[in-house]
Every structure is written in structure tokens, then in C-alpha cells.
Amino acid sequence: MSQISRRQAMALLGALGLGASAAACAGPGGSTKPAGASGPAAPSAGAVTGKVSFAHWRGEDKAVFDELIKRFAAKHDGVEVAQDISTSNDYNAQALQKLRGGSIGDAFATFRGAQFKNFTEAGIYTDLKDSQAVKNYQKGLLSAGQNGDSQLGLPYQVVFPMPMANLDLFDKAGAEIAPKNWDAFLAMCEKLASAGVIPISWPGGDVGNGGQLFNCMIANNAPVDDMCAQIEQGKLKCTDDWFIKMLNQYKDLKPFVQPNATGTAVEPAQNLFSQGKAAMLATGSYHLAAVRGLGAKFPIDLVFPNTTSDGKGKYEGAYNATFILGVNSASKNQAAAAAWIDFLSEPENAGYYANQTAQHVSVDKVEYTNPDLKRLSPWLQKKTALAARFQFNNLDVRNAVEASATAVISGTSPEQAAAAAQKVVDERL
């Protein structure tokens, strides 16, 4: 065996290093095929068998999905569905990278807004326009999953990002549950405070949940419906009068939220409400199951902080169509993934999901037996605004704009808070 010198060995290692460098210099971009001119293809058909990964962020719904998976497996021999669950924030940040390879998330859910847009651009969706599932949905609620002529996703949940109210405490304080304008809303808070309870439990220390109130506050204040998209595009500004007016209304709320609200995380905020220490929880109906789990026994309804002065606002509430179900274009088992989505979209199964998780769904002909959902069902018929904060495609812009409200509650002047938010927006135009 011939001997090699140190110099030769170093040359070999150097060559390896150079090889690594050359490999590293491969250009960015990946295997993701962007949607072609003809648009995304429908999921491939075939036998409903094999393993399906279902990626989502609703850890609290795991047991309900487990039961639905059992029922699905009983219907299709040889099919297995495994849930791949991340926390909502991690899902927001990482899902796209995890799913684009196709090994995770044959079927998946996305948030409305920036995430749906990015998934669309990355070509991860298949077109469900001609699927069996799409026929089961209420037509008016499908728009959040559409791109041009394609129905890329099916918005499964309908939630109301509005304060939930403890009706017992409202009755006891003699407070009006449906204030007609801003003064009436403040008078209602005053009555609740006089009765010795915290009027509003607000998780100001949690960016995501604290920001839900923004949907209500901006709905009737903004001059247009796509106000957040226009702020992001520079057509509207946080320093505009209507925005400053909204921030002043946040300032009005300061005496009515719990002390040190900007440091309160979502769980303690839920506890204040569940324990009857606070009359409202300013997050949304998606926390119904959570507060029941924490021991809330009282009847719950929703309250819309009507920001108008004359009660003639365009909207009576706010809603969001989210948890947008899709089939992964990179999946090796599209047939089974599509069948799983079809299964979830059947009224009977959607009803089971809704009643067990205390969330309304976009599927038509669903019978709500859950008492909370029954009580909130009239909100499905009201004129509600589609949650505005999900119009933001840039998360830095969204966080900065919403942070202006938190800053006001912590004592910053509305003008200063608005200017700080606008600075971040301007930097990203």
C-alpha cells in the first residue's frame, strides 16, 4: 500500500472543503414548483389507503380529531391518519418549510391571510374546486380559501374574535349586553366596574390574542373594508385621523381592563374570566372550550364594542373564517388526504367537530347541539366584518400596528404610538 504524505492528506481535506464550498454555492430556491399558468392541479385520485399526515396547530382539538380519525379508518380499510401538531406560533413560522417537502402534511390547515398567501405562492395547494368537499360549504364563507378561479383551501372554522361576556355578571350589574354606540359601551363598562368586577380581561402580554380586539375596534372606524391591506400598501396611514380616533378609544378602555393588563398572558386572562372576576374576555369565541375547561359555569354570549358615535355603523360584529384545509401538492398520498378532507367536510363529521370543540364551522346543514354554540348561533346571521388583522401579509407590519394599541393602554399617547407604528410601516413599503 503506498504511503501518502501529510501534504497530500491536507490536499485531500482541502478538496473536500472546496467541494463543500461549491455545494454551498448552489443557488437558493428549492424544489417547490410554482403554480404554472394553468393553475394548481386537483389532487390525484386513487385508492384511499396508506398513511396520511394531517398537519395543524389545534392541540386542544387533538382528542376530537382522534375520534374522527377512528371513524375515517373504519370507513376506509388500511388508511391511517397521524396528526402533526405544532403550537400556533410555530406553525405560523415553520409550516411552509416543513410541508413543502411533502413528507409531513399530506392534508393540512393554514391561517387566513399571510400564511395562506405564502402557501399559495409556494404552490403547496392542490385545487379542490371540483372536490366533493367543496359542495358541503356555505358559499359565502369559501372566499378565504380562494385564489382566482381556484378553490385552494376550505375554511373550516367560523370564529368570532369579539369579547365573550359572562351573562350572570351582566345581569347582576344591570349592564346592557348590546351597546348601540361607543358611549353606551363605556357606560356598560362603568356599570360592571361599579358592581365590583373587572369589566374586561385583556391579554395585553400576548401579541396574538391581545390583537383580536383590534378586529372589533377597527371594523367601523376605518373608511374602507380592506383597511389593513391599504395600511400595508401605504394608501392609509396609522397617523390618519380615523386611526388616531381608534387609539383614543383604546385609551378610553384603559380604566376598564385589569390592572397591569399589558403584562397579562392569555392563560391568566382566561382565568380572570372563568373565575368570575372579569365580566368579559377580550379574545374570541375560539376560547369557549378553554374557559369551560377552566370551570366557567355561567352562560356566555358575545359583545361587540361598537365604536360608532351614532350607532349607525356598517358592522354589528367581527368574524373570521380560518383553519383552511388543503391537500399538499407534494404529497405522495393525495387520494387519501383528499378523502380525509372530504370526510371532515361532511355535515355529520363537521357537526361532531363543532359541538365537541365549541366552534362553529363553515360547513352547511350542521346541527349545533352544544349549548354555547346554540346561544352564539344568531351571530352567524348578523352583519359581521371579516377579521381585519389577517389582511396584513407582513407580520412585522401587523405586530407594529397592533402594538400601537398596547402602547396606548400602557400609557403612550395615541399620536406617539401611531407615529411609531407608521415608522415601521414606512420602512417596509
Partner: protein, 318 residues
């Protein structure tokens, strides 16, 4: 007295008769080894090349593009991402300022605190060993657990801190909800988390100091402070060097602690460079996030180097 094997071998070589062409033999002998030996570093080299060298080089390449992280199309933008970071992105400069402030706070507090603990617990008595274990305990917890423990402590409604303070009629405030104070509260958590670990480094350094030096100093009439200044501090300088460098890097990368305690994304008063890079990445600005990562890397290297020079923990030429 033992003789080093290398010394013995050299001596043996010297004792043997001189070869015909000594220069040639000397040159061949140390460099010729069994080629199989060269296979040993290959796995390590391959791992480092694949997981460290390649991603680092790729980061440099991505940093000059506007790649969003998923599409096939991208443009080369030169140094625009770097210019943007320093001139057109107040969120980045805010994170940088927060990070430097956080590092400074933690490095000073953690170094002093761990040194004081080490000085108090150097002796190998039963009590000291028990206390060392107690102070070391937080180190074995995961960052996420620590974050959740302290998130509960700082909760203004049900948290431990305010509950205790309320018993004496004091309201501690919003803690993490107070933008002016939030970073300091997280620094307290970081110091609590890692001081025990640094204490152990110091104890090892302190126990290596010859006792005779203290005895001699005492005989010369030196008081405790003089003994510390002239014996302890110079002798624990290598330990300090490790503590300061490690704490600096650790504080720069307090990603999981911040995310756990402040949520994702953290509000701007708690945003540090690592969380900002993550937010930029999550915002589908992969190229810009890569540029921020390179700045981050340079910043850690610069701060660590400056510290070592300013504190004179590394003698010139080392």
C-alpha cells in the same frame, strides 16, 4: 520523575548512528504515517463541512439575495440587505440595542454573582456541596421550563412576585408588560438560570490556587480584600475568561428563553437579534434573515474579542 515518551523517542533517535542523508530522513519520518490514520478525521470533517461550513457559506450567498425561502425565483441584491439592516430597519436596530444591553447586564451580573457564590462555597464541606447542587440545579432545566416558571412568577395577576409583594401592600407592576423594565426582568431570569453553572467554573479555578499563597499573604498582614485583589483575582483570570466569553455567547443566543417568556413574536422591548432573525425568517424574507445572521455572527465575534482585550484576560500573543 517520569520521562515524556516523546522525549525518550527523541533521545533514542539522537543516540542512533547518523544516516547517510540525515535531512531526507528527518523530512520523511514525521510526515509518513499509515494512510488509514487519515480516515479517522474524515467523519468529523464531513459532519462539520455538511452542518457548519456549508450552511455558513450558503448564508453568505443568501444574504445577497432577496429570496423568500420557498420560491424558485430570486434576485441578487448586493449589499442591500446589510444596508437595510443598519439604515432602514428600526426593528433590527432596536433588537441590536436590546441585545447589547442584555449582554452587558447579564455578563456583569452573572460574573459577579457566580464569583461571589463560588467564593462562599469553595470549601468542600457538606453544606457547601448541598448549596452548590442547589444553585446548579436551574442549569439542568430546559430553557422552555425556565421560561414558563418565570412567566408565572412575573404574571401580575396570579404570579408569585406580586402575590408576595401584595402581602406587604406593594404592587410590583406589570413586569414583562412594562416596556421600560421588561428586559431587566428577563436578565434576572437569565442570571438565575446560568449562575450556578458559572459558579462551578469559578470553584474549579479557586480550588486550584495554592493555599501557601494565602498563608504567606496572611503572614505579611494582607487583609481579605488585598488577598482577593492580589491572589484570587489574577489566579481566577482564566476562569473569568471562560465565564465572560460563555456568558456573552449565551446571552446573545437567549432565543428560547425570550420566546418562551415573551411569546412569539416577542414585543419590541424584548426583541433580541436571534428572535428578530427568526421573525424575519417567519416573514418569508430568507435573504434578509441570512444577512441579519451574518451581522449577528460578526457581532458575537467582535464583542467577545473586545471583551478579552479590554479585560486583558488573554495575554498578547495567545
Amino acid at each position: 520523575m517520569s520521562i515524556h515518551p516523546g522525549t525518550a523517542a527523541k533521545r533514542k533517535a539522537t543516540d542512533s548512528p547518523a544516516p547517510a542523508n540525515p535531512a531526507k530522513v528527518r523530512r520523511r519520518s514525521p510526515t509518513r504515517v499509515n494512510p488509514a490514520l487519515y480516515l479517522f478525521p474524515l467523519p468529523a470533517v464531513a459532519v462539520v463541512a455538511f452542518f457548519l461550513v456549508m450552511p455558513t457559506l450558503q448564508a453568505f450567498q443568501y444574504a445577497i439575495t432577496d429570496w423568500n425561502g420557498f420560491s424558485a425565483a430570486f434576485n441578487y441584491v448586493g449589499l442591500d440587505n446589510f444596508i437595510r439592516a443598519f439604515t432602514k430597519d428600526s426593528l433590527f436596530t432596536n433588537a441590536l440595542t436590546n441585545n447589547l444591553k442584555f449582554v452587558l447586564l447579564v455578563v456583569i451580573a452573572q460574573t459577579v454573582f457566580s464569583l461571589v457564590l463560588a467564593l462562599l462555597l469553595t470549601k468542600n464541606s457538606r453544606g457547601s456541596i448541598l448549596l452548590r447542587a442547589l444553585f446548579f440545579f436551574p442549569t439542568i432545566l430546559s430553557s422552555v421550563s425556565v421560561a414558563f416558571i418565570w412567566k408565572f412568577i412575573y404574571d401580575p395577576n396570579f404570579g408569585l412576585a406580586n402575590s408576595v409583594l401584595r402581602t406587604v401592600g406593594v404592587d410590583g407592576g406589570a413586569y414583562l408588560g412594562n416596556d421600560a423594565q421588561a428586559l431587566y426582568w428577563v436578565a434576572v431570569t437569565q442570571v438565575w438560570f446560568h449562575s450556578g453553572q458559572m459558579m462551578v467554573v469559578y470553584i474549579a479555578g479557586l480550588q486550584a490556587i495554592p493555599k501557601e499563597l494565602y498563608e504567606a499573604a496572611e503572614m505579611d498582614g494582607a487583609n481579605k480584600w488585598q488577598q482577593f485583589k492580589s491572589i484570587t483575582w489574577p489566579f481566577v483570570a482564566p476562569a473569568t475568561s471562560i465565564v465572560v466569553a460563555y456568558t456573552t455567547v449565551q446571552s446573545f443566543k437567549a432565543f428560547d428563553l425570550i420566546l418562551g417568556i415573551a411569546g412569539n413574536p416577542p414585543k419590541s422591548s424584548l426583541d433580541i437579534l436571534s428572535t428578530r432573525i427568526y421573525s424575519t425568517f417567519a416573514n418569508s424574507e430568507f435573504g434578509y434573515a441570512a444577512a441579519q445572521s451574518i451581522i449577528f455572527m460578526a457581532m458575537i465575534a467582535l464583542v467577545t474579542w473586545l471583551q478579552r482585550r479590554l479585560l486583558r484576560l488573554t495575554p498578547k500573543g495567545d
